[in-house]
């Protein structure tokens, strides 16, 4: 009997030793859960659904503890239903989390596309503003830098690097704001209803004067880049014009390459201009002199700079950029030169249209 008892112990120990080396296989849900955990990590669950991911991790950790305690048992007979059920619950929560992550990623991708589209439109508008107004100060290198960054953002987004794409888009947004901040002071008054009303009154008065006197009148509208020719208060014709490199601001001093604003008169006709034909204006007028003196007193002018002169309406082409003059195509200039007499009033205003290109453009920008 004692010998049998010893044999039984030996058998038990042998069984245990072999059992220790060969574990009972775990339920298939466990491997699936490990795979799911990897997939969720790879999909960025901790970033896209942090709270749900924390809850999932807690549940997974608890299941892992249960598994470890099961595996650490001396002998694992019996069924693994409880373990399988626990991991099935984890898998279910993981599937829910995966769906949350998928939706969050889709939302992020859509947000990137929308942001890119908005910024592309804003850059396009700024590019048009610069291209149409042809003022040197609007042609900024930051615009092209922003376009390059937008292209980079698109590349990162396409390569599945949304973080990098968003970083670039953030900088593009700053670029747009910076370009706009430098452009707005130059163009804001052309969208100011009060200022436009003032220009409209000036034009209306000048046209009325032309009608009353039966004389000619030339009106230059800066935003539209047009010269409108009136006779006896009626429009005769209108021409496209080029203006100064810095035409958006009214001329203040010599060399500022700005086109003056206000009421002038043709002082002299020059048939031998180097720009085909020219009508010399009587710039500076009294208002110009007052502004110049005020700027001088406030120290806003460079040292030894004069008020400037020789502002003309001349030929040379409407595509030209001048030092402040108004340039027409030679064919239009020939017609004007023939018909316009010395003493003809020339009114230069910003615009008379409340819904002009600049105001409609500014409405589209942040």
């Amino acid at each position: 009997m004692k010998l049998r008892y010893g044999q039984a112990i030996l058998l038990l120990v042998l069984l245990a030793a072999c059992g220790g080396c060969r574990e009972k296989p775990v339920p298939p849900e466990i491997d699936l859960a490990w795979r799911q955990e990897k997939d969720l990590r790879g999909a960025g669950a901790s970033v896209y659904a942090p709270q749900a991911h924390r809850q999932y991790q807690d549940e997974l950790a608890a299941a892992r503890v249960l598994l470890d305690s099961e595996r650490a048992r001396f002998l694992r007979f019996g069924n693994d239903d409880a373990l399988a059920r626990t991991f099935r619950d984890v898998l279910a929560r993981g599937e829910h989390l995966a769906e949350q992550v998928r939706l969050a990623r889709e939302a992020e991708a859509a947000a990137i596309v929308a942001r890119m589209q908005t910024l592309r439109e804003q850059l396009g508008i700024l590019r048009d503003l610069s291209g149409s107004l042809k003022d040197r100060r609007l042609a900024t290198r930051r615009l092209v830098q922003a376009e390059i960054r937008l292209n980079e953002a698109g590349r990162h987004a396409a390569a599945g690097r949304p973080g990098e794409a968003l970083d670039r888009l953030e900088v593009v947004g700053e670029d747009v704001r910076a370009v706009l901040a430098s452009a707005r002071p130059l163009v804001a008054r052309f969208a100011d209803p009060g200022e436009i009303d003032r220009w409209r009154r000036m034009v209306a008065e000048a046209v009325e004067e032309s009608r009353r006197r039966g004389s000619a009148l030339l009106v230059v509208s800066k935003v539209e880049r047009r010269l409108i020719w009136y006779r006896r208060g009626e429009k005769v014709s209108n021409f496209g014009v080029g203006m100064g490199f810095n035409f958006l601001t009214p001329k203040l001093h010599a060399g500022d390459k700005a086109t003056p604003e206000g009421l002038y008169r043709v002082k002299l006709k020059n048939a031998r201009s180097k720009f085909y034909r020219a009508l010399l204006l009587d710039y500076p007028n009294d208002a110009d002199r007052r502004r110049f003196a005020s700027a001088r007193r406030s120290g806003a002018l460079p040292d030894r700079v004069g008020i400037g002169s020789l502002i003309e309406i001349h030929g040379g082409g409407k595509q030209g950029m001048t030092d402040g003059c108004v340039a027409l195509d030679n064919r239009d200039m020939a017609l004007l030169f023939e018909q316009i007499e010395v003493g003809t009033p020339v009114l230069i205003v910003g615009t008379t249209d409340h819904d002009n290109f600049i105001s409609s453009t500014l409405r589209q920008l942040p």
């Binding site: 010893g6 030996l10 030793a17 490990w34 610069s130 290198r141 830098q145 292209n151 390569a159």
Partner: protein
Amino acid sequence: MKRLVTVLVGLVMAASLVACGKQPVEEIGAAKAAVEAAAGAGAEKYVAEEFTKVNEAMTAAMEEVKVQDGKMFKNYDKAKQMLAQAKADAEALQAKAAAEKERLMNQAAADLATAMTAVSEALTLVENAPKGKGSAADIMAMKADVAGLEAALAEVQPLIDGGDYVGASEKALAIGEKASALSAEIKAAMEKLAAVKAKKK
């Protein structure tokens, strides 16, 4: 006979506990060192996906060690196997990370060179664009564009120096595209101008 049985039982028990039961300290150390070496070679940055896999394999191996630690009859065979695999993968990754780093660096340098050529061509075209009152505004705008391209170009080398080769490549490619578009625009304008001149003659 009773004594013999007791001795046998003792021997089997000792064998079962000792043969499979010693924690693989050396293997753990070697695998950890290999993973650290891979990280040091930039695996996390340059072969991120594979590095994550190696880390996961290492974590799984350590989990296995932990499970066996808690058992009465410990068997670390599976853990050893897993550690050996993690070590081998990490060692392979070390070389792969270095090679990938080198490849990305060379690619970034090549992309920068291409972008520089494109910007240089655009600059030459702007400088040689027909000057006249009619083209002044366009030339002014193009000069601003070239200045922007040059400023963007200056941002590429610091990215390469900082090890952000992918970022450097993407920026260089974007610059190259913009420069090529500008060159095409200038060429088209020049051709248009030449056609107008030819018509006038």
